[in-house]
Amino acid sequence: MTQSNTDPSLLLLDNKEQYLTLRICNVMFGIPVTKVRDIFDQQKITFVPLAAPEILGEINLRGRIGTAIDMRRRLSFPKSKDEYPATMNIAVELHNELYSLVVDSVGEVMTLLNKDLEPLPVTLDQEWKDLAVGIFKLKNELLIILDIEKILNLNK
């Protein structure tokens, strides 16, 4: 239900949208805050054998079971399991199922104008192009906005 009012709103240039910023390997990403259900500190994750490599395992999110997605792996960052810093879980809900995006850290919530969202540069990695919707040019750095639905679709 959240998805129906965010995606079209991206096209309405006068509208504002709030984004939660997060960092993975020192790159800043953003996701629409409307999709975020909860943010958790590091949690115990139950490893699930035979699952896709991006799946870290199952996680208890306030009594509900969510699937933890390794965002580093999902975004094809180099494998560095041993040097994981303290991680954060961003709980998102999609089609009545809970997921937890496991990221390095979570930043602030920014309110940005839709008209400032710029298309992805053509030189961007194809993997990222498939998962992102656009880029905001902030003062100091770039903010890549991710498409949650595509992130959670591991088959593509």
């Binding site: 115990k44 139950t46 699930v48 054998p49 009594g63 079971i65 699937t67």
Partner: protein, 892 residues
């Protein structure tokens, strides 16, 4: 409008389902005004409402039905079999239209004119005849009795000629039917007549106190309760760890309330099993009409409650089983009378709680399952071997009825008997974690017992660990646990690289869970795997039993199964997941998924194949089967089983002395009996075991002391014997055993046989000497051949010189290809009539094709060898006699 329609459909469907039941009761008790009123009102409501929301087809049908019921209410029409059948048909049509409505919100097209006409026809009959009830009664009863369904009602009408009798009968019938009414109704708790009446009066009150709640709302409530329970468990664990916690007391209270809440919410999901039984009275009524059987249905414990999800799942299997009982279980009335039973068959359904499970029994007092029929079918279908059938225990034989394709019904009726069904019933019940069992006594009846869990959402599971990961596995599928350690008796053994476990003489395939879950690569080093301490969980999935090797087994826990995430759906090994008391998530292993994965990866097949190849290997070694028996001097002796025609037991009184030997009548002939040992004296009583040998239609019996068993063993004569009756000794099963020379006994018996068929024909054999002596020679000599053994090494022109220019039969072992070539070469062009019979190691490679002059026969198939030889003999005999062609020679 949509809401209105939905409500109408829900309400009408509910009313209608009650009607089925009421009508069946009404048929037995046509004068029950309350029942009539109920039925009339239900149909009237439907008619009224559909007129209101505009459904002409439904209205017409309901109206016609209502008219007939109206006439019955006024007493101008009496409920008999015909009338009730027509009304039931009318209700079926209403149901059909309602289903169509539920499907696409409009009435399904169709014409009910025929039905309506017949319904109206009933009315006109009743109107015409109503002035003279007596006449009607007589005519109807005459018609009905010719129709062969003499129901109580018809009798009743006939009896209406006499007022006295009528009254008696009505009272009789009332007491009978009011006994039946509570049985039929789902409200079982009252058995007395008054209680039934009272209940009917109370009904509207109860109805006002209940509200309709959407099922999904209840599901949601249930899920939330599960969460609450889990959170409570977490809290409890935390509090338990810290001493003197101030939360202890309020938590105690929370614990109590949560438990109560859980129980109450569980109750909302519970439904009396009677709701799954509502269709049965009608079903039985229809069946008893169709099958011309009298059937009583008794429903006990209809108020036993269980999860509605479970009820939905067992509904169809139950109907199927009741149908089976009525069709196959119960006999025809005349059969029942002949068997000394009451004409009316009885089917009893009994539901009750026991040990956290619901037990449902479906019993009939019919003919019972025929053990022999099932056995025959099972053999015909290849489920068991014919010779093993007698050793299979009864309970196991009965289990065969749950196999696909096995029906013991001789003819397929429109009701059942197609051999599909019971297997589906079993699968459905097993799917919800239930079991089904069957007991049967011939002529007393059959009883099926279904055991199912109360609810599907909470499952008792074993927590296990492998490689530091914990997994839960439903306890129901775990048969037992075996602990493996250095000191334990049970050991993991290997066939090739597949682990197996010997468990009470059964060989179970094993799977390492860590390998299955790819937690670690498969290890080829068997020692490494075997040395570890581990546990084996013996799992049963359908027919397959296998062991799952895990590192550790913890306690059992009641867990709430939650479906796994979409992202993990493609991993069939997991049936769900849950949160444990400590807050951690645990994956639940699905035994079905594991078995399916195994079937795909062919591990089980590999194991089976390995077994098969081991067996094949044994076969390839071509060990003949030896019959081991005991001589009268207690010594063990053996004879190739193929030489023995039969094993018999003769009663000593049937054995007579004829001069110097014993004889007995055997298949229309007198057979000489020779004791295996001279010390034999005929016992005064009992029987003696006899090995029967047959040659050319003549039989010989050898009396032995005791037949021990048969064993596959290669015959290698270790020690030659001086005893002419013994070929030599060999080691069989670790014991020195004499192999008897059947030839000696046959020679001995020759003089007792009427005419000797001993004839000499040139036959040479090249190959294994032991085989020749123990098997070939006696067979050939008995048939009148004069076999000659030639050692392969002796094969030279000189040895064969004498066979030149003569017809010759050569028996050559399959692998003696070079022998055959040498033979042809040595004999050269001079031998025109060389017949070669190849002896094969394997029965499968036998070919009767005649390539050139060589015929192949299985080495141990005595009959076939002799058959082929006699063919050759016939050819030889038909040749013009040339005296110089017969060359004989017997080497010493």
């Amino acid at each position: 409008m949509d809401d209105l329609l939905t409500e109408f459909i829900v309400e009408s469907t509910e009313n209608i389902s009650q009607l089925d039941e009421d009508l069946v009761v009404l048929e037995k008790d046509p004068h029950n005004p309350k029942l009539l009123e109920n039925i009339f009102r239900a149909l009237h409501t439907i008619k009224g409402t559909c007129g209101f929301i505009g459904m002409p087809r439904l209205e017409k049908v309901a109206h016609a039905g209502e008219n007939v019921l109206g006439a019955m209410r006024e007493g101008t029409l009496i409920a008999n079999n015909e009338v009730i059948s027509l009304i039931l048909e009318c209700i079926d049509t209403v149901k059909m239209i309602l289903m169509g409505l539920a499907g696409n919100s409009t009435e399904p097209p169709g014409d009910d004119e025929y039905l309506i006409q017949r319904l109206n026809g009933l009315l006109s009959v009743s109107e015409e005849r109503s002035p003279s009830i007596v006449e009607e009664g007589m005519e109807l009863s005459e018609k009905d009795s010719s129709h062969d369904s003499t129901s109580l009602i018809d009798e009743n009408k006939t009896e209406s000629l006499s007022n006295n009798l009528l009254e008696n009968l009505i009272t009789d019938q009332k007491s009978l039917s009011s006994e039946e009414a509570p049985r039929m109704s789902t409200q079982q708790n009252s058995s007395s007549k008054q209680a039934v009446e009272g209940e009917k009066d109370k009904e509207p009150l109860v109805a006002n106190q209940s509200i309709r709640v959407n099922v999904s709302l209840l599901e949601e409530l249930m899920t939330m309760i599960s969460e609450l329970v889990l959170t409570r468990n977490q809290l409890m664990q935390m509090v338990r760890e810290s001493e003197n916690n101030e939360f202890a007391v309020p938590l105690q209270r929370l614990n109590y309330v949560t438990a109560e809440l859980q129980e109450t919410v569980m109750k909302t999901r519970m439904q009396p099993i009677g709701t799954a039984w509502t269709k049965l009275p009608r079903l039985i009524r229809d069946l008893s009409n169709d099958l011309r059987k009298k059937i009583d249905l008794e429903l006990i414990g209809s108020d036993t409650e269980l999860d509605r999800q479970v009820i939905e799942l067992i509904k169809d299997p139950l109907i199927h089983m009741v149908r089976n009982s009525a069709d196959h279980g119960l006999e025809n009335p005349h059969e029942r009378l002949a068997a000394g039973k009451d004409e009316t068959g009885k089917i009893t359904l009994n539901a009750y709680h026991a040990g956290g499970h619901i037990h449902i029994e479906i019993a009939d007092d019919g003919r019972g399952l025929s053990l022999q029929k099932i056995k025959d079918k099972a053999i015909a279908n290849g489920f068991i071997r014919a010779d093993a059938a007698d050793t299979v225990p009864e309970s196991q034989i009965y289990q065969f009825i749950f196999k696909a394709g096995l029906s013991t019904a001789e003819k397929v009726t429109n009701v059942s008997g197609r051999g599909v069904g019971m297997d589906v019933v079993k699968t459905n019940i097993e799917k919800i974690g239930g079991t089904i069992d069957v007991k049967s006594v011939v002529n007393k009846g059959t009883k099926f017992t279904i055991k199912i869990p109360l609810t599907l959402t909470i499952v008792s599971s074993l927590i296990t660990e492998v490689q530091g990961n914990r997994f839960a596995i439903p306890q129901l599928s775990v048969l037992e646990l075996v602990k493996i350690s250095r000191t334990s008796q049970s050991k993991i053994e290997y066939i090739k690289s597949h682990p197996v476990l010997r468990l009470r003489k059964k060989l179970l395939p094993l799977i390492f869970l860590k390998e299955l879950l790819k937690l670690e690569p498969p290890m080829e080093q068997e020692d490494v795997r075997a040395n570890e301490n581990c546990y084996i969980m013996i799992l049963q999935v359908g027919e397959d039993v296998f062991g799952l090797i895990v590192d550790q087994v913890y306690d059992t826990q009641e867990i709430v199964v939650k479906p796994v995430s979409n992202l993990l759906r493609d991993v069939p090994i997991f049936g769900g997941n849950t949160i444990l008391g400590d807050g951690s998530v645990i994956m639940i292993l699905d035994p079905n998924g594991i078995a399916a994965t195994l079937a795909n990866s062919d591990v089980l097949d590999h194991i089976k194949n390995d077994f098969a190849s081991e067996k094949a290997k044994k076969k390839a070694e071509n060990k003949p089967i030896l019959l081991i028996f005991q001589s009268h001097d207690q010594a063990y002796k053996a004879v190739p089983l193929l030489l023995v025609s039969r094993l018999e037991k003769f009663n000593v009184h049937d054995i007579e002395m004829d001069g110097d030997h014993y004889r007995a009548k055997y298949s229309e002939d007198l057979m000489p009996l020779l004791p295996i040992h001279d010390s034999f004296t005929l016992p005064s009583d009992g029987s003696v075991p006899v090995l029967v040998f047959t040659r050319n239609g003549q039989s010989l019996g050898i009396i032995v002391s005791k037949i021990i068993n048969t064993i596959e063993e290669s015959i290698e004569l270790k020690i030659k014997s001086d005893n002419p009756a013994v070929l030599g000794s060999t080691i069989v099963d670790g014991m020195s055993t004499d192999i008897i020379d059947t030839e000696f006994y046959i020679q001995k018996a020759q003089k007792y046989w009427n005419n000797s068929l001993y004839k000499n024909l040139p036959t040479i054999y090249m190959g294994n000497k032991d085989f020749y002596i123990s098997f070939l020679k006696p067979s050939l000599i008995a048939e009148g051949y004069n076999p000659i053994f030639i050692d392969n090494n002796d094969l030279s022109e000189d040895t064969l010189q004498i066979y030149k220019n003569a017809p010759l039969i050569a028996l050559i072992e399959e692998d003696g290809q070079s022998t055959q070539e040498t033979l042809s070469l040595l004999l050269g062009q001079d031998c025109k009539d060389l017949y070669i019979l190849k002896l094969n190691m394997e029965p499968s490679s036998v070919s009767n094709e005649n390539h050139e002059s060589a015929v192949s026969v299985y080495k141990y198939d005595r009959k076939e060898i002799l058959c082929q030889l006699s063919k050759i003999k016939t050819i030889l005999n038909n040749l013009p006699a040339k005296p110089d062609q017969v060359v004989l020679g017997v080497p010493q």
